[in-house]
Point group: C2
Chain length 226, copies 2
């Protein structure tokens, strides 16, 4: 097949969100304990993870909820300690996978159009793209909230195709999640590639649409299937 | 007089907020222009300053308003570029004045209690204190929003005195603003010291309470009047 466009997921596809989140949460908890939270590190990390899951990643008061869960009074000093530590860790880990930029550059050399299809809030996702140093790479960026939907809604993928002026049959979608990236793109008729970095938990496909056409260990292998 | 406690304002007293704000705003505007804002740097900086003044420093959409003022559509990429540049600049400039830590350490050696009285949101002000590396220095931190008031309300100063178990007559308040720090502390019966760094615009006292007892060029001179 002749591939003229490649769409990418961001999180755990272009950079290692998993390691970022694990370390940032742990460092936040440690800083909160240092600032006065009476808690065990491992237990507090587990609680925080649960709070993030319960209230969603874009909720503004995860640390207040964590403090509350220890039956302590609201404490802005402890919250601020968590925020500063989380942020410093986030900045340190918000770097592309080593294969990301070389692979995107090779696609550029081939005149392949490249785009992003990602779930999230527009400003937050753009902030990631900018911190990753990728803001000048993409010919199209589609962020779910702008279309008031989420993956696996195929509308996101067809919208990206329109922006790139590409047909489904000449496009690849590259992502880590079978229930989001693979299912959505496949429904839009796009050939799908699952990237499975070793630190990512592998989820089994739950239906026909969740079986990827290709499974790769990292982005650089993408060039072999073009 | 025997001084047993010293209260400090944060912004433009312990660190150079003015230079931080000027550079962070300018770098934010430049990054926004690089990301697609059609604007002149100097004009956009002026507009942004006006927007911050109009909507207050804790409003979340300054950059959206700036884009709107150029009659452009909402643009999350441009907003994110501004946020990332502002934040990077902020981190770089959020350092104490060179005299701050030496002076606080000398006060510690003298067994003088030290506290903070500042306007703002608790988490945001604690974030500054932590980034300045000063979170372990203060015996009391009073942040206006916790008492649902603002400087020059003398309640803030008397609350700090209670926390430090200090009397007004044995306390100094050190700050840059005559209408906030000097007026409020003087009303609470505290001896007042105005710090006037050269980059700060000098405001003339508007009433009797706004005349400071001392005016110093930087924090290190504080030790001479104790």
């Amino acid at each position: 097949m002749e591939i003229k466009a490649v769409l990418f997921d961001i999180d755990n596809t272009l950079y290692d969100t998993k390691t970022l989140a694990v370390n940032a949460r742990r460092n936040a908890v440690k800083a909160m304990i240092e600032a006065g939270l009476k808690a065990d590190v491992d237990e507090a990390v587990k609680k925080l993870k649960k709070i993030v899951k319960e209230y969603g990643p874009n909720f503004d008061h995860h640390y207040d909820k964590l403090i509350e869960s220890y039956r302590m009074q609201p404490n802005p000093r402890i919250v601020a300690a968590g925020i500063v530590a989380y942020h410093a860790t986030k900045i340190a880990y918000l770097v592309p996978y080593p294969q990301t930029i070389p692979t995107l550059l090779k696609l550029k050399e081939r005149n392949t159009k490249i785009g992003v299809v990602t779930d999230g809030l527009p400003v937050k996702q753009w902030e990631k793209i900018i911190r990753l140093g990728l803001q000048h790479f993409f010919d199209a960026v589609v962020i779910s909230e702008e279309l008031k939907t989420r993956k696996p809604d195929e509308k996101l993928f067809t919208h990206a195709l329109e922006k790139l002026d590409a047909k489904p049959a000449e496009t690849l979608m590259v992502g880590d999640r079978v229930d989001k990236d693979i299912q959505g793109a496949k429904k839009a008729g796009i050939t799908t590639v699952q990237i499975l970095h070793p630190e990512i938990e592998k989820k089994r496909p739950q239906n026909e649409l969740q079986y990827p056409d290709y499974v790769l260990g990292d982005l650089s292998e993408l060039l072999e299937i073009l």
